[in-house]
């Protein structure tokens, strides 16, 4: 159905035009892996820097002027607002151009767009985060959000994996969560690797081994499409209902606001009605196009 209430979406429009980006300045660049970087940024405009808010799970459209615009989730938590973050894996024109930037560079930002993780549903539950590769980026916003509001949630399990040790992103987060006694951190890599002392196995397999209890639990999953497709059946086997499984979908997007048509599946737009969906909602999609 058409969305009528856009009051919360009217905020943060540059020049009253929904396609005009704000100018943001890159403050710090972290090389996560050989092809993934995290960018710390802030709005150039001081007012916006103070006023800007977003929720975990939302994304932005980031512009490298002259090259193009691309979609990335906001990977920092709304509870830690001295700066904002997004993570980029090199894949094409815009991502490569982003990787060529240095601190101090100016790029564009439109957002925050999309829906967010359903905190009301998640409060009071155990949380199981299942992520692969750069899929940890949208989840880490929610993980830190949950840790900063620790009392509102029960157990927190984080299961994260990558192809090899060199592909593990957000090492500093993994270390912090390893040390944090209030969360359980399980890291794995796909195959044996020299020097790796930790777990070995694909994320869905490790999930099955860890076997978190399904009762009063929500599973939040993000990663490469093939990983998600193998994770859902494992969760079902462990007793999770489709409503208890939550994910954030990746689709090719351009406008980010439900107009250009690209991310359309059936009668929903992933950018406007998502990207956060429960598996129950995804099952209702017109086709297995996810």
């Amino acid at each position: 159905m058409p969305i009528k209430d856009i009051s919360h979406r009217e905020k943060f429009l540059a020049g009253g035009n929904v396609y005009l980006p704000h100018i943001i300045v890159i403050e710090k660049i972290i090389e996560e892996t050989y092809d993934t970087r995290t960018f710390h940024f802030n709005f150039k405009d001081d007012n916006l820097r103070e006023e800007f808010t977003f929720e975990s799970g939302q994304f932005g459209e980031y512009s490298v002027f002259g090259v193009g615009e691309a979609t990335f989730c906001i990977s920092s938590s709304p509870t830690r607002r001295d700066h904002l973050e997004f993570a980029v894996k090199r894949a094409g024109k815009v991502t490569n151009a982003l990787h060529r930037l240095s601190a101090g560079a100016e790029i564009g930002f439109r957002g925050p767009y999309g829906n967010s993780f359903p905190l009301d549903y998640l409060k009071g539950k155990n949380l199981v985060f299942v992520a692969g590769g750069i899929g940890l980026a949208p989840l880490r916003s929610l993980i830190w959000n949950a840790i900063d509001n620790r009392a509102q949630y029960e157990n927190i399990d984080i299961i994260y994996g990558a192809r090899s040790p060199a592909d593990l992103c957000f090492q500093y987060d993994l270390d912090a969560w390893e040390k944090d006694k209030s969360v359980k951190m399980v890291t794995t890599i796909d195959h044996e690797h020299e020097g790796w002392q930790g777990r070995v196995g694909f994320v869905p397999q490790v999930l099955e081994q860890v076997a978190p209890a399904a009762r009063n639990t929500a599973a939040i999953v993000c990663g490469p499409p093939v990983m998600i497709r193998f994770t859902f059946p494992v969760l079902e086997k462990l007793g999770f209902t489709p409503e208890q499984m939550i994910t954030t979908l990746e689709k090719r997007m351009k406008c980010g606001i439900g107009k250009c048509g690209r991310c359309n599946i059936g009668d929903i737009y992933v950018c406007r009605d998502g990207p956060v969906f429960s598996f129950a909602q995804i099952k209702d999609f017109i086709s297995g196009e996810y």
């Binding site: 159905m1 396609y19 005009l20 100018i23 300045v25 002027f65 002259g66 107009k259 048509g261 017109i286």
Partner: protein
């Protein structure tokens, strides 16, 4: 969103003008509006700015190739420009096109098409580029007298002879056009237009007859019984869709020339540190439309054909309560392989191929 026209339309003022005096009418309107009329001067029939003289389009005009949507939502338009100096990036919106436009002789199908795509540009976020132009464009409709064999507007609830989606409606009544006011804007324009004569009873009768005759001339019919249900139930019927899509060549003609298609792409053009961001027409028929680094959910042609058909006749109605097709027939007329959506829609099965096979086996 859609204006319901009262059936008692003839209590509104109806005027008329001789066909040979149309030039005078358009010249008058040119003092307030940039007037657009059907024209083949560029090489292809489309709505182009009137030169102030030539009304010969009345002789050949049945419908344009490029629909009037191209005047409100152009093939290519500038979104903003950017330049970089010592202080960083500066963004500038293009000068707002405040000029008032008038599109003369738009057909009821194309006028309805604009109503159909309005929600896209209004919903959730307002698209200023489209909405400003839409607000500033007055539509003067011209009822059809000679529909193409590819037209099927009546099957979608559109009448070729009359329209509630325009501001003024002209009807061919022989040597003259009758002019009917439809909206307040139209009424206001008509009131200050000179050289018009009040229409009399016989004129109103001929208007009604002309409209009925046009509707009767529509030869192509599309049976929409259970269409949405059939499309829903056969969505996963790969065999049906592969057969339906077999001769399609995945160009973008049908979607580009469709008055209700609106998908667009956004790209930057740059020279040094300066440049412009453009938007341009895009098509779900293209194989790269949904391509991502990891996968392409619509890699196969049949998936794209299915998406186009289902989006127009099922998904869009679910979102905005209106079918995204006006039966203008351009897709049928201009497809290089004569892929015909009416034929495909009528062949969408009640039951899937698998269900039929099961039934036959038992």
């Amino acid at each position: 969103m859609s204006r319901k026209r009262q059936r008692t339309s003839y209590d509104k003022t109806m005027k008329k003008i001789k066909k040979k005096d149309i030039g005078n009418l358009l010249r008058q309107w040119q003092s307030d509006f940039a007037v657009f009329t059907p024209s083949r001067k560029s090489g292809t029939a489309r709505m182009e700015e009137w030169d102030g003289q030539d009304t010969s389009f009345l002789e050949w005009y049945r419908n344009t190739v490029i629909p009037p949507k191209g005047n409100i939502f152009p093939n290519m338009e500038e979104m903003f420009s950017f330049h970089k100096d010592g202080e960083g990036y500066h963004l500038e919106l293009p000068a707002q096109d405040e000029a008032k436009h008038l599109i003369f002789a738009i057909r009821p199908c194309d006028a309805r098409a604009l109503k159909i795509i309005d929600p896209v540009f209004q919903d959730a976020y307002e698209d200023n580029y489209y909405l400003t132009r839409r607000e500033n464009t007055l539509l003067v409709g011209l009822g059809c007298t000679d529909p193409h064999e590819s037209c099927f507007c009546t099957s979608l609830g559109i009448s070729p002879g009359e329209s509630g989606d325009v501001d003024l409606m002209l009807t061919d009544i022989g040597e003259e056009f009758s002019i009917e006011e439809v909206t307040e804007k139209g009424k206001e324009l008509l009131a200050r237009t000179e050289g018009l004569v009040e229409a009399a009873q016989p004129d109103e009768l001929r208007t009604r007859e002309s409209r009925e005759a046009a509707a009767k001339k529509i030869s192509r019919k599309l049976d929409t019984t259970n269409l949405k249900e059939r499309l829903l139930s056969s969505f996963e019927d790969k065999e049906f869709w592969e057969k339906a899509a077999a001769k399609c060549i995945s160009c973008g003609i049908c979607t580009f020339l469709c008055p209700t298609c609106y998908c667009f792409d956004i790209n930057d053009e740059t020279s040094g540190g300066n440049g412009t961001r453009f938007r341009s027409w895009d098509s779900c028929s293209f194989s790269v439309y949904t391509k991502m680094p990891a996968e392409n959910p619509r890699e196969d042609k049949w998936q794209r054909v299915r998406q186009k058909v289902c989006h127009k006749y099922e998904f869009y109605p679910r979102l905005f309560d209106i079918t995204a097709c006006t039966g203008c027939g351009r897709c049928i007329r201009l497809c290089p392989v004569n892929w015909d959506i009416t034929r495909v829609l009528e062949s969408v099965p009640e039951e899937t191929t698998a269900q039929k096979e099961n039934r036959n086996a038992n």
